[in-house]
Symmetry: C2
Subunit: 584 residues, 2 copies
């Protein structure tokens, strides 16, 4: 027992984390960019603290890393070390990490190298690949705090891996960090009393989003080639979109969830799922197939026995586009990104029809009712362990009243009707398309925001309706906000007070450079098809290799800076030499 206050416990935990950084990987504080430097995406490379090999490794996508380990070009230790170093820098820039276990990761990598050297065999399809984990997945030997101070040391370490973590371990993955989340993972920004807030590397005045915000910031800075987040109302898609990353929110039952800690444990009205986030769509697809090929249904009774399905897309796809969900109007850059996507898809020969967001408002409110149906009892219990207060975003968990099960059943029945209505509308869209077939996907914003300032993320309805229906949805990066182009609609008439408040908060100066992604939504359990459609969209808008291109750019900048430095050194040397010349 401890009589420490929640702030004292939080401080102790944070200090413990900070002590786990390897000093040789930390950038000296005085060398870090100041708060006036908003966009730090290129900083890990351009700052010169990473070696050329570390840059080469961390700029490579997961498939390349795996093949270079296999071909013995890189060792698992070299890879783990490179990502450990870059993750350290990413953290110094954005505060994205919660648990740090670099030494354990290096030990795992060493064992994998030895295994490969001894047997000539790879341990599995993920041999040597570093994978970062959101701080809700239990991993043996580490705690899982999900943002609650009361869980910081409680238990001090888990005895067992979550099913997914165990599978990835068996497949040869290397674990080295867990990433920051909001309290209970029920806020759209990754903030808590232990670690504070994770900021957005595109613009550090903006939030990384949540709840998988630590993951997304880390991955955007290439401190991890692939990370596992989770999504119960948008928690994969919001941070992925906020960092222009690829992710997929599967329907419940594709990926194993057993052994994840939850702020709302036992909630079954909404499926919390986990999934990959990456700069690489290849990595997201490869990971998804690899996990499913591992037959997770033999290890987690809630996983559906559905092997990976190869999908042939029709040459001409039909998308239904939602530009505004009828509740909250998107920011200007979001609409521009969507228009751009529609235009590019049409140019590529696909069909795009307008899709009415019928029932979306109710789908958003009903899912909130499910979240709050225990009267916040579980969150209150966990917060009560240390007396930590509720953040404003979470205040409703403190104030809501517990429902009786009878009322919950009535909500379930209503949701079942909403599911039926949506699926019928989807089928009926056959009469609206030129192919005579229903739409293949819905194309829409991931949120109203092209990035958003801290504390201003007010509306998750663009993602939550997907969870209410248990549909499949992925994010695709499109572009970045540009204050010179993206202007607020002067004549926009808000639809309601929520919309009014949200639009009033839109400051195109503030969100300048913020990322814009689109959401590709398929029906339930359409993961393979949605991934394939994400590729179609990404190809159309030219972002399939967005991060590779960014990497090339970053490398060019790096080389340019190096050359400047070399030239300067040479010039200095020359001037010293000439100044010392006996001819003077």
């Amino acid at each position: 027992m401890t009589c420490d206050t929640y702030l004292e416990i939080a401080a102790r935990k944070k200090a413990e984390r900070d002590a786990k950084f390897k000093p040789e990987w930390l950038v000296p504080k005085d060398k870090l960019p100041g708060p006036e430097i908003k966009d730090v995406l290129e900083w890990p490379v351009t700052s010169g603290f990473l070696t050329a090999e570390e840059i080469a490794i961390t700029e490579a996508g997961a498939p390349t890393i795996l093949s270079k380990i296999k071909s013995k070009e890189w060792t698992a230790v070299e890879v783990a070390s490179a990502f450990g170093h870059r993750a350290t820098i990413a953290h110094q820039l954005t505060n994205c990490l919660s648990e740090i276990f670099f030494e354990e990761g290096l030990t795992m990598a060493k064992e994998l190298d030895e295994y490969y050297a001894t047997t000539g065999k790879l341990k599995g399809p993920l041999h040597g690949l570093p994978i970062s984990l959101k701080d809700n997945l239990n991993i043996k030997g580490q705690p899982t705090s999900i943002g609650f101070v009361g869980f910081a040391f409680n238990p001090p370490k888990f005895e067992d891996d979550a099913v997914l973590v165990g599978m990835l371990r068996e497949m040869g993955a290397v674990f080295y960090v867990k990433t920051n989340v909001p309290v209970a993972m029920m806020m759209p920004e990754s903030i808590n009393f232990i670690y504070g807030n994770t900021v957005n590397p595109f613009n550090r005045d903006l939030t990384a989003g949540g709840s998988s915000g630590g993951e997304a910031a880390l991955i955007a800075l290439k401190g991890s080639p692939i990370g596992i987040g989770s999504d119960i109302g948008g928690s994969l898609r919001i941070p992925a979109a906020n960092q222009n990353l690829f992710t997929i929110r599967s329907s419940g039952g594709r990926f194993p969830t057993y052994g994840a800690r939850s702020g709302l444990p036992g909630l079954e009205s909404v499926n919390s799922v986990n999934g990959p986030i990456s700069t690489s769509l290849d990595a997201v697809e490869f990971y998804s197939k690899t996990v499913i090929d591992g037959e997770p249904w033999l290890k987690d009774g809630k996983v559906i026995e559905m092997p990976w399905r190869d999908v042939d897309l029709p040459e001409k796809l039909t998308f239904g586009v939602i530009r505004d969900d009828g509740v909250v109007h998107p920011y200007p850059a979001v609409l521009r990104g969507l228009d751009h996507t529609v235009e590019k898809l049409r140019e590529a020969g696909h069909e795009v029809i307008e899709w009415e967001p019928q029932d979306h408002e109710r789908l958003d409110t009903i899912i909130t009712e499910f979240f709050l149906s225990d009267g916040g009892e579980h969150c209150k219990e966990y917060a009560g362990l240390t007396g930590e207060p509720f953040f404003p975003y979470m205040e409703m968990y403190n104030k809501c009243k517990e429902k009786g099960v009878s009322e919950l059943w009535d909500l379930h029945a209503e949701r079942t009707t909403l599911m039926k209505r949506y699926i019928d509308r989807w089928a009926a869209s056959a009469s609206m398309t030129s192919t005579g077939k229903p739409i293949d996907a819905i194309l829409m914003p991931v949120s109203p925001y092209s990035g958003v300032g801290h504390g201003k993320f007010r509306y998750v309805g663009y993602t939550a309706w997907v969870n209410a229906l248990d549909y499949t949805a992925g994010t695709v990066p499109v572009l970045r906000a540009d204050k010179s182009i993206d202007k607020k609609e002067a004549d926009y008439v808000p639809k309601n007070s929520r919309d009014e408040e949200n639009y009033a908060l839109c400051d195109t100066d503030e969100v300048d450079g913020g990322p814009v992604s689109v959401q590709v939504v398929g029906r339930r359990l359409q993961e393979e098809k949605v991934l394939k459609m994400m590729r179609v969209v990404a190809k159309a808008v030219g972002t399939e290799k967005y991060w590779d291109d960014l990497g090339v750019l970053i490398n060019y900048i790096y080389i340019y800076i190096c050359m400047l430095v070399i030239l300067q050194i040479a010039a200095s040397a020359l001037s010293i030499v000439s100044s010392q010349s006996p001819l003077h």
Copy 2:
């Protein structure tokens, strides 16, 4: 508004049903067997009220019926008429029907015949096949009372088919009856205040079981070639086993459920599923494949997009056998049937290992907690519509206290752990088998009963654990109880008071001739494999053609009786002739 009492409303509803019988199909009351005739299985044939063609049609299984309609040997009207007639007799023997719409069925059949004659095409894979429906599936133009007096005329008719009913209709099925259920479908005997009790045609002193008891009695008497029941705790398997029929309880999400009425609407902690019951395993398999081939996931958002899977079974299967679930001991004939099955499977080259029923008691009690978690509010509301009292079996719904959602979540979390433990044990069974692979199925009783007297069905734990885990389970008929062989174990020491009470109620004289079936349980979503394994078990014990053999036997008896009658008439005629001979 009516001020009638529940008994008056019930009587009015029953009279309305009775008025819908076609007089020409009804057996005169004085020609019906008296209550002293317990076993009426053969009566519809041997009584002489059916024509030879009606017998031929109704003794045929669903696949034969479909092929004979296709080959134009039989018309859909002939088939509908034969089953209408036999269903009428089945009802007179067991009280199995609730809603009757023979005329509508004949009209459907006529339209199908006309369609076929005009177009030369069958409407679908079920063209002309009569299908009986449990009285929880909505069908347009009929009410759905699920045993509540308050629903007898409320609404007087539904506007829409349930998704499943609509699919079957599109496929060419003919609907003509709905079948009796217990109040709210939450009792193991099919009794309610409207229609009373459905009795067992194997022995009318025994219950047909529930909640799909009307279906099972009707089908055992071949008043329907295939019927749709539902199962939330054993409601398909208990009546199927009680009538030695084939059925399969799928996991949630294989068959569409939208548009079914429930006594516990909105309950999602346990999946209520529907499925086929038939005398023919071929029919059960054919139906399952046909519905799934109809892509129900495009019409019901809760159906999993999982096309029919062809399964190759290993030559040698491994079964884990549960003889006693550790809570309530089975009746002697049940144990004999199970021993017989094990012996026959071993003779056929399969492996059978002992399987410990770990956690079964808790799985049974936790599912009951889920059923009661709304505090019986919904059942009380529905009973309250007319003031009907609760049956003793349902008294707990009247007395239980509503749970808060917080407690429900904790139960969900516990069940998740139980699911994990079971799946881990299943996987770990690889170390117990000679193949080094996990068991393929669990083989066990369907209930402790080889038939059971009215009001004595005290324990559903043998089926309910399957629902708690959402596993797949089918029933296979094995034999019938025989009081000359099946003796109570004199030295049996009950495990607990429930066991003691249940075993004390066992009266081997009373259950003489009662059916014994076994249950074949697969993991979640193993429908195709379980069906294949059911066939292996049925072949091993020689019951794959149980009902065909019974049909042949019945036909022989019929022919024998006809010949006796003819001989007697001939003898009488001869004696008259001889008495009138001028030679006298």
